[in-house]
Amino acid sequence: MMDLLNGLITLANFVLIPALAYGSQLALGALGVTLIYGILRFSNFAHGDTMAFGTMVVVLVTWAMQAAGISLGPLPTALLALPFGIAGAAAMVLLTDRAVYRFYRAQKAKPVILVIVSMGVMFIYNGVTRFIIGPEDQRFADGERFIISARDFKAMTGLDEGLAIKSTQAITLVTAVVVVALLFWFLNRTRTGKSMRAYSDNEDLALLSGINPERVVLVTWLLVAALATVAGTLYGLDKSFKPFTYFQLLLPIFASAIVGGLGSPVGAIAGGFVIAFSEVGITYAWKKVLVYMMPGPLEPDGLVQLLSTEYKFAVSFMILLIVLLFRPTGLFRGKSV
């Protein structure tokens, strides 16, 4: 019985909690991708670098606040800097839309042209971010590191295994829930949100009923900037901020959005968790858990790690391939075929 509990705690500590936090970050990223896909109808390759740009603003403002002695006590100062980051990212994407995307929208360019254009935008965002903050790792997390540290947990429960909950993981989950709730309330309850969904479902019909497309696009970019900055900041707090990592996040984020069904917000969230749990589960060495769970003779000798952690991108890719092969519209029947 004790063994079973210890096994469960280990599982929670190394798999469930990290995957839950990572999944929330991916879900927020995928929501941004899926919104752009639904409204603007292209896959935005610049999304990872939008996240990096917004997070960079957050990092810079956080540093300024830390220097000025402003803090949130046990919570990271970055939460206070978040609105500034969102404003920065929003300014950047709106400027980009005005200078770049609007022209192609007016032309009714093919989606693939927009994808190439977004690649050029990605180059520029990437260059700007590196130009301002440099390509290195930056740490900006402060405040309490743990809600429960492994040692406290052991002392509290008397179990052999500890359960550590990092405060960034808890903040990630809480923030993600709040953001997603706000987003769904906005999309389903407000007039603007409804007009966005109408525009996404049927552009011509929406235009006929008097919806202003430029306003829909504007609101979409604002939402995307906010989602990207929040996702990027949470990821940066949880791990660390490095511009290139955000570019690499593009693959799991796209995989999440496609697995859930491009254009479907619920799908993006589900997809984020599917990808996160598979990534963490497949690259985790299960030996410790299995030793606790299995009866003596069945205990494994090896690490029971299906793939080494360097292959985590391969996991999202394999899931992506399987979905493309067997269910190209995704779990929640996105609009794309």
């Binding site: 050029g120 180059f123 130009f131 690499q248 796209f254 999202s316 890719f317």
Partner: protein, 431 residues
């Protein structure tokens, strides 16, 4: 050739010659050689994008597979490693391939609920058998003097054979991707290729038994003599003196010119083939499919099949270019493959040169490569000018001077967006 083509190629030639006169001939030849390789890569991408409208963002992966081929073909085999676990590693790979084949066959033969169950059990059980056979072999191979070898090595064949083999490897990967992602939305191919590129690089960085991972494979054989041998050859020294050159300079120039000649030969062959293909009925069909898939399908053309064909061909060309590049470097460094450098830069080449025009792709390859190399010195000169008025040691000045390296990305992004906006057909438009 039209006068526009002649003028633009002359301009690029002048730019490269200019860097020869102003900087050094060594630099100029380096730009020329990598320009030739870039031109081949952009020829391959032009085949996919210009002919068929396929969006491939995994060029880096296909280039890296070409590099892998160079190691597998030309590196000397490590006999002890083969004796220790080579066969076991091969056996493991065969088991893996067998499991996948069995799963595919089972999926085709069975039906209903049983099908999913059988395939799932096959794959899970197969995976553990594969790891059981494979891992022990890998450990044995990697234990053999890891500081110098620790890998299986290659076949020890002449390095030129690696070029077509690189094309074949890339074609294999392209087939796998094309089979799954073609026929769906155009963006899906982009995302799938982005994924395969990351995975190829991850494999090359982590499978030490195959590529030595981040320890790099150095000292790959060359198709040309080494500089030091030339310098010790009295006949060569005498001829160099005839040109008024000292032996060291003469030998480096000679080797670089030799590579240039080899690369140029490959480029001419591929360019001729592409031109013939473009003008053939096949090329016309491809462009018809690109311009109106529905109409082409109504005419009885197998759109997905043709797309698969041209996707494989284009990727193979990128693989050949990758093998050539690794041959030029003489070493394989998996960590040097960066998507911004290998995938997105090639896209800039194709778009700027003129998608759908083979000569345009070649021109774009040379021009953009030249800019990529020269933007940094120009940028730092410019930055020096901008910061000249600032006081020495100020934070902003130091930061601006340090950030010059990142100017490249900005410049390339800007070039891409400007060309797409104001001259979407590129420098040499499709005819």
């Amino acid at each position: 050739m039209t006068s526009r083509e002649i003028i633009l190629f002359a301009v690029v030639a002048l730019l490269i010659l200019g860097s020869g006169f102003l900087q050094s001939w060594n630099t100029a030849l380096l730009i020329l050689n990598m320009g030739l390789i870039s031109a081949i890569m952009s020829l391959g991408v032009n085949l996919q994008w210009g002919f068929a409208g396929l969006f491939n963002v995994g060029i880096m992966g296909f280039v890296a597979l070409g590099g892998l081929a160079t190691v597998l073909v030309s590196a000397p085999p490590v006999a002890e490693a083969w004796a220790a676990g080579g066969l076991r590693v091969l056996g493991g790979l065969l088991v893996g391939a067998g499991v996948i084949a069995a799963a595919v066959i089972a999926w085709g033969r069975l039906a209903g609920r049983l099908r999913g169950l059988v395939v799932f059990v096959l794959i899970v059980a197969g995976f553990f058998i594969f790891r059981a056979v494979f891992d022990a072999g890998v450990d044995a191979v990697e234990a053999i003097s890891p500081a110098t070898t620790g890998y299986l090595g290659g076949l020890g064949l002449p390095v030129l054979i690696a070029w077509p083999v690189g094309g074949l490897l890339a074609a294999g990967a392209a087939w796998l991707i094309g089979k799954t992602a073609l026929g769906l939305r155009s963006d899906y191919l982009a995302i799938a290729t982005l994924g395969i590129a990351e995975i190829v690089i991850a494999i090359m960085k982590n499978e030490d038994w195959l590529t030595r991972g981040v320890k790099n494979v150095i000292g790959l054989p060359r198709p040309l003599p080494y500089e030091i041998d030339l310098q010790n050859d009295p006949g060569f020294v005498e001829r160099a003196a005839g040109f008024g050159l000292d032996p060291t300079t003469a030998s480096t120039l000679f080797v670089k010119l030799g590579y240039g000649a080899l690369f140029a030969a490959v480029l001419v062959v591929l360019l001729t083939l592409s031109q013939l293909a473009l003008r053939s009925p096949w090329g016309r069909m491809m462009r018809a499919i690109r311009d109106n898939e529905t109409a082409a399908r109504a005419m009885g053309k197998d759109v997905t099949g043709r797309h698969l064909q041209i996707f494989i061909l284009g990727s193979a060309i990128c693989g050949i270019a990758g093998a050539m590049m690794t041959t030029l470097d003489g070493q394989l460094t998996p960590s040097s493959y960066q998507p911004l450098r290998y995938t997105f830069l090639v896209w800039v080449m194709v778009i700027v040169g003129g998608s759908g025009n083979n000569l345009g792709a070649v021109l774009g390859g040379f021009l953009i490569w030249f800019l990529w190399v020269e933007v940094e010195p120009i940028g730092s000169a410019l930055m020096g000018l901008i910061t000249a008025g600032m006081s020495d040691g100020s934070w902003l000045k130091g930061h601006l001077l340090d950030s010059v390296a990142h100017m490249r990305l900005l410049t390339m992004g800007l070039i891409l967006l400007l060309v797409l906006r104001f001259s979407p057909r590129g420098l040499l438009p499709e005819r």
